[in-house]
């Protein structure tokens, strides 16, 4: 077991509000338990892909789990894998794809750990069919400040559902067993379609979703007026061996994605401003075919297009960026439109805005997805008026019964967050049963009063009483 440093500055993917902590790197699950027995506060961290302050613990000890990266056992018969929690989806995919398996859920990047993915209860383009990653976890091992426990949907279920989406605040996941998806090839069969505006996009997604395992739309967040919400919808499924041309059939499961380039330095100002983003969006929209079916794409192209550029987050300059992701129930399409109108009219540039239809909610107490529309936009910080506009949008989203995603958040008002997640109090009851002293703490949990007395006040009235 190694203590790496006494004070290291840690930030989220958005690089916006770093804080300093002691960082330790356990080499085994026993090391994790030993670190947790030291005086807190403590917090596990994976690859730091949460956008805000979820994986920071100012003044405490951050347990860097990335050295726990073994793939313990791949069971070909039962299509499942037991893997250490610090293993990245990238490493896992490089092993399992050539053997004919795919992860049940992947977010938009492979550079997340298995433990981090469960703690955020991540979703992917298949949420409408397959739910979040926790729906495919058979069991996991959790080092809490008081014990080492196995839990899953069948045993210690309450603790399991408090841990899935629990943002690392119930303990340190040390390993997990995931059910995998058998695949014949490493290619995707993809249909692409351009739609002229938001209504057309939503209508088309509602029609085509059920026919495909994967579905998502990219929305031009800077287009205004009649073009508001013009989009490129992509849907896809794993290609079978017979879908491949002859030259690919020799090695149908080939998988070795490469990073094309790495951003070498942080530019002094954001390179992603309304002008460059508008130009990019125009090109991206025009490049997409009006309609194309049956295109073969690599897994990395279809699922993880931005992973081709290392450190793309530094393109936002020293001030960093945030992502605004929310979900609202079906029937609240107008909320998506209002958010888009508000941000596009204020020219608050967003590179890649993503729209998707979620399926049913899982059982995680703090899990983000539920049936409805989810919309995500990257926004450069430091833009005049942005903070206040996002506060307005929070209220619109909350009033529609929607919520924002903790793994992306860095700025929601605590009282609104509590209204969005009415089960925080129940979750905290379960959390306290394994961490009675409140040793596990993150900058996010402190900012949003997720743990301790603040979490049990219940949702408060919001929207009034401010100047």
């Amino acid at each position: 077991m190694t203590a790496r440093s006494s004070g290291e500055l840690l930030a989220g993917w958005g690089r916006a509000c770093p804080s300093a902590a002691r960082v330790v790197s356990p080499q085994t699950a026993e090391d994790v338990t030993a670190f947790l027995s030291e005086p807190g506060p403590h917090l596990p961290r994976g690859l730091g892909r949460s956008y805000g302050d979820a994986a920071q613990c100012a003044g405490g000890t951050v347990i860097d789990c990335t050295a726990l990266d073994s793939i313990v056992e791949l069971d070909h018969i039962e299509s499942r894998v037991k893997v250490d929690a610090g293993c990245s989806l990238d490493s896992l995919l490089r092993v399992i794809v050539p053997q004919g398996f795919f992860v049940p859920v992947t977010p938009g990047t492979r550079y997340v750990t298995v433990g981090g993915a469960i703690a955020s209860d991540v979703h992917g383009k298949n949420h409408h069919r397959d739910g979040t990653i926790s729906a495919h976890v058979e069991r996991l091992e959790l080092a809490t400040p008081t014990a080492r426990l196995e839990c899953g949907p069948e045993e210690e279920a309450e603790l399991f559902w408090a841990t899935a989406g629990g943002m690392g605040l119930t303990g340190v996941i040390t390993d997990a067993t995931l059910r995998l998806v058998p695949i014949e090839t490493s290619r995707m069969l993809v249909d692409t379609e351009r739609t002229a505006d938001l209504d057309a996009c939503m209508a088309r997604m509602a029609e085509t979703d059920a026919q495909h395992r994967y579905s998502v739309a990219w929305v031009d967040s800077l287009a205004r007026g009649r073009q508001l919400g013009r989009s490129v919808i992509t849907v896809g499924d794993h290609a079978g061996i017979t879908d491949l041309p002859d030259n690919l059939r020799d090695d149908p499961l080939e998988f070795s994605p490469r990073q094309l380039l790495n951003v070498p330095v942080t530019p002094p100002i954001s390179l992603l401003n309304p002008m460059t983003v508008a130009a990019f969006n125009e090109a991206w929209y025009r490049r997409a075919p009006r309609q194309r079916t049956g295109e073969l794409q690599r897994i990395s192209t279809f699922f993880h297009p931005l992973d081709g550029i290392g450190n793309w987050n530094v393109l936002y300059g020293p001030r960093g960026f945030t992502q605004y992701q929310f979900v609202v129930p079906f029937g609240s399409e107008s909320v998506v439109r209002r958010v888009l109108e508000r941000l596009s009219s204020a020219r608050m540039a967003s590179f890649l805005a993503v729209l998707k239809r979620f399926g049913a909610a899982g059982k995680g107490y703090l899990s983000f997805p539920f049936t409805g529309w989810t919309f995500a936009l990257d926004l450069p910080l430091g833009t005049a008026g942005l903070a206040v506009v996002l506060d307005e949008l929070d209220e619109i989203v909350a009033n529609a019964g929607g919520r924002v995603y903790l793994s992306k958040d860095g700025r929601v008002r605590p009282e609104i967050l509590h209204a969005m997640y009415p089960r925080i109090g129940e979750w905290d009851e379960v959390r306290r049963s394994v961490d009675p002293q409140g040793v596990l703490v993150s900058d996010l949990s402190r900012r949003l009063r997720l743990t301790g007395p603040g979490s049990r006040q219940g949702p408060r009235v919001f929207g009034g009483g401010r100047p």
Binding site: L9, S19, D53, A384
Partner: protein, 253 residues
């Protein structure tokens, strides 16, 4: 905790009764402010400031008399403040006293007193709080400097010299704190109409306290290290610095 837009939840103010600090807190109250500890020399103005914040629905507002010139009390006060608030997201250093130097009344004691109030005390307080914030691993310090310190004028040279020292201390401390999670923002307002400047002849670009407050909050959003108010003063003062002494000394006061 400070959020990604730079907005604090808990704030300690030194010079909490001043018009500038009150204006800044009014804006922060509309954002994420939950707890404030106001300190200053005079209890009555602190209470008025506290009442105003309570009226703006800030859940926890406390006051305490503290004189930044009592250097010996500052370290223990910083420790006590973090105990009371749990976490300090932002320390606002707004203590100070304007004085128009008049050589006929100025003496050694007065110079010592003015420099202690405007430089030694605030610098000592920043040091004490920098220690506490470093241990927290996060936090922001905002210090009110002045354009008067950027090029010192005869009309207020004692005040200007002290602010020049504080300004340099603030920027230097900010650099020294690199990598600690703690940042320092130095604010350089021009002539602000406040009770501190009542009766003074108004300089042409005189501004209101609310303009300073908006600029400070905007600076926090941008993660700025230096904020000029109004922003054009950055360029005006750059030119002023180049003026020959023979001209500068005749600048009207």
């Amino acid at each position: 905790m400070n959020d990604v837009t730079g907005m604090p939840q808990t704030v300690v103010v030194l010079g909490g009764g001043s018009d500038l600090s009150r204006a800044i807190l009014r804006v922060l109250a509309g954002r994420r402010l939950t707890s404030v500890l106001l300190t200053g020399r005079t209890g009555s103005s602190l209470e008025a400031a506290a009442e105003e914040l309570r009226g703006l629905s800030v859940p926890k507002v406390e006051t305490e008399q503290l004189d930044v010139t009592e250097i010996g009390a500052l370290e223990s006060f910083a420790d006590a403040a973090v105990q009371r608030l749990g976490d300090i997201d932002l320390v606002l250093i707004a203590a100070g006293e304007l004085d128009m130097a008049d050589l006929t009344t100025l003496d050694a004691r007065r110079v010592a007193s003015l420099t202690t109030t405007n430089f030694t005390g605030p610098a000592a307080a920043m040091t004490a709080f920098a220690r506490v914030l470093r241990a927290q691993g996060h936090g922001q310090i905002v210090v009110l400097s002045s354009v008067a310190g950027y090029r010192v004028r005869a009309a207020n040279f004692v005040y200007g010299a002290a602010k020049a020292g504080l300004d340099g201390f603030g920027t230097g401390l900010g650099d020294a704190l690199g990598g600690s999670g703690v940042s320092v923002m130095v604010v350089r307002p021009g002539f602000v109409r406040t009770k501190m400047t009542v009766g003074r002849k108004t300089a042409p670009p005189a501004i209101e306290a609310s303009e300073v407050a908006d600029a400070v909050v905007r600076g926090l959003e941008k993660g700025a290290q230096v904020v000029w108010v109004p922003s054009v003063l950055q360029y005006v003062l750059a030119i002023f610095r180049l003026l020959p002494r023979s001209l500068w000394r005749r600048m009207p006061g």
